[in-house]
Subunit: 112 residues, 2 copies
DNA sequence: ACAAACCATAACCATATGGTTATGGTTTCT
DNA sequence: AGAAACCATAACCATATGGTTATGGTTTGT
């Protein structure tokens, strides 16, 4: 009846990627690899604290990991955290379901 | 340098699906087909005006279409509007890119 | 004709969100 | 040692967001 809204992990991923600045930060990390907060601040066009807060949200969704090195913190994308979103698309995007299903089968055949 | 946040279509889709109630409504429509606002209200667990507003947001993202029939409005999912999200995943989900690319190639071969 | 059902919009409210500047803690550089 | 760089958190602010109740316009049922 009333829908189940208790899937926090999935919710965190969708919410994290709903903001364009956060998406841009994730894209930058996915494309150009590990970056410091300082470097990301230069890229993102907002203040350093804003970037830090965005990174916290991405961290909560496990979309980024961080590594402290001296005074700087290096962040990198963790793209496998997108799995919940991919799964959601597979289940509810009827248009894509066939393609996904066929992908599953084909990949099974290719790597045993 | 500073990221491009002007891709409104993509942004609408991500924002629309960021809310769990909205996702639930879309899921319900995708699974069980066309529904009236009244039926969706019974399902969603929030008031009828709340459902109407959610449907407006989903409409803006082109994730649903509506059809007036007398005093009731029937909504149905428009899953191909998920394309921007699928494309985004293909580009920036490095973990998934290989699989998507292979899918493209394989589908090319299968239906000419 | 009247009442009821269906839906959208208005008006309103509390909280979440995304941004800022200020501050303080480490770490590095001179 | 002292200054500067890097980052996270605090404090604050304006707006967006998601919900509610109230209302009004159509359409349907009696």
């Amino acid at each position: 009846m009333t829908p189940d809204k208790t899937n926090l992990g999935t919710n965190y991923v969708f919410r994290a990627l709903a903001d364009p600045t956060r998406r841009a930060i994730f894209e930058e990390l996915a494309r150009h690899g590990e970056q410091t907060v300082h470097a990301l601040t230069g890229y993102a066009g907002v203040s350093q604290p804003a970037v830090s807060k965005h990174l916290t949200v991405l961290k909560r969704a496990k979309l980024v990991r961080h590594r402290r090195e001296g005074r700087e913190t290096h962040y990198r994308a963790q793209p496998d955290a997108l799995t919940p979103m991919v799964d959601w698309l597979r289940h509810y995007g009827a248009f894509w379901r066939d393609r996904f299903d066929r992908l599953e089968v084909l990949l099974e055949r290719m790597d045993p």
